[in-house]
Symmetry: C2
């Protein structure tokens, strides 16, 4: 029984799991990490955790590959994390892939977490129906993945699909990426929570502790939360319109915690899309929620390794 390991590096924890080739999650868990610890300490803890999952694997299970999602940009040749990983500084300049491949002796791939998530959606999620789609993952920031002609598209050097940093408003505020008025500044979890809490404060209402809770409040009929989600939806519709005019896709898939707002977020995106797109292009495009929710990072990373093994 071939088994793949998936790992998903977040700002304060690493999720780890074992996945079968049909996408079934065999076991999973997470370990907390100190994001300011040195590379060796973090990786030792991660490797030990994977050891314990492997020791508990059912008889006949055989580890055939490891997929790892991290924030930022990875050099494909060396696996070294080049940039865009400020939350876990010691990863930058190091190769998670080399460390794990040396330690476990199986094919290992590292890639951007949202690119891994797109692999997961393509193999096991909402993307199974499509050969051309974009995945937008709304978390603390905004990640993106592109599938073109049935394959995850990585660009000339593997840096593609930085959808969170599309310039949505050239007069908007500057962003850490170097651009102005990026999508992330209007529609990330951070932005949604801040927008809601600003509105709430002015009205003497209780602040929301997270973007997910804004989504939940919207579903429960909180008008301010519905307005906040709609404002984010307008910006997402603009980004999707531009992407569709550029790439003529079949679907735009929305994932990440905020996507649990469901049609309260997706409805206005669908309604506003024609304002940002050729009619012929927007017609018959599906705007839908991601199919993988919990453990999407782990399954996506394993799926990303699977697609490497099968080519």
């Amino acid at each position: 029984m071939d088994v793949l390991a998936g790992m998903d590096f977040g700002g304060t924890s690493v999720k780890i799991g074992l996945v079968l080739k049909n996408g079934t999650l065999l076991s999973h868990g997470l370990i907390a990490i100190d994001p300011c610890a040195d590379f060796e300490s973090i990786m030792t803890a991660v490797a030990r955790s994977l050891d314990s999952f492997l020791n508990a694997m059912p008889p006949g299970g055989k580890l055939v590959g490891i997929g790892i999602g991290t924030p930022g940009f990875t050099d494909e040749e060396s696996g070294v994390l080049l940039e865009g990983c400020r939350n876990i500084p010691s990863l930058q300049g190091n190769s998670v892939r080399r460390y794990i491949a040396d330690r476990f002796g199986v094919p290992t791939v590292t890639d951007n977490d949202a690119t891994c998530a797109a692999s997961g959606e393509l193999l096991f999620g909402a993307g199974r129906k499509y050969s051309n789609f974009v995945l937008l993952t709304i978390g603390t920031g905004i990640g993106g993945g592109l599938v073109l002609d049935g394959k995850v598209f990585r660009g000339a050097r593997g840096y593609a699909a930085e959808i969170g940093h599309m310039c949505i408003d050239p007069n908007g505020p500057w962003c850490i990426c170097g651009s102005r008025g990026c999508l992330e500044q209007f529609a990330s979890g951070t932005a949604i929570q801040a927008a809601y809490n600003q509105k709430a404060a002015k009205r003497g209402l209780e602040a929301a502790p997270s973007a997910e809770s804004v989504a939940d409040r919207a579903r429960q009929g909180d008008v301010l939360a519905v307005i906040t989600m709609r404002e984010a939806a307008t910006r997402i519709a603009q980004a999707f319109g531009t992407i569709l005019n550029l790439l003529d896709l079949q679907a735009c898939i929305v994932g990440g915690g905020v996507s649990r707002a469901g049609d309260i977020l997706l409805g206005p995106i669908r309604a506003e899309l024609p304002d940002y797109c050729w009619p012929l292009v927007s017609r018959s495009v599906d705007i839908c929620a991601a199919g993988l929710s919990n453990n999407a990072g782990v399954v996506g990373a394993a799926a990303h390794m699977m697609s490497r093994l099968s080519t």
Copy 2:
């Protein structure tokens, strides 16, 4: 000696030429058309013109395929022009490809003119050096073509690369495509000429008869023309930044009549690009002029057919 025919449908004329497989233009010319004439009249004239080119072909020449570029969106299956061809209304709803293929009995392809131009740049122009690039053609409007992983990318239904209709400013004026503040409204030949002439009128200066003449005046040191080109460059830099963040390309190529402004246009695009793009993504991207200029449409259409024949 294998010969391909290329045709390029413009608003008031059709350019026709014969092209060898190495890109050499054997013969070429144009016929004026009445854009309001019926389909049959236009196509009869175009076919007769191609007849005369074929009759004058050197001994041993053999027509092996015909490539045709038109404005708008073509249905790949039927070759029927679906939308986006308001300049020659009678083309819409008809199949130029079927007419020409039936008349000449050789493999024939029709596609968007800018998509054809991208094929031309890839095979014979500035795109030869790259496997991932975008081509922006600045004419009356703005056309676009994408080459990804060494092939012209057409999207799920062949409508990709509508770069002229990327939303650059969500508060900009509405465009015929359904979006607001499209790139075309800021940086097309029409927009550049109008912007220059507005500035000139206020100062009692002579109007420019075309966008190309604004480009020529800029090269001759006309400060107003330089400013106008720079304003267009800012918008193009924004569009390129968004495209690069999305697709991680090696080059952005600028074609069309206005591109003869050369570094007066390309210089500010290069200078402003980092304001709209991840540093890692914009680094080492080439911003350059198209390699094919005169007859780019004819050679591009023939090249588009060639790439079909070779796959």
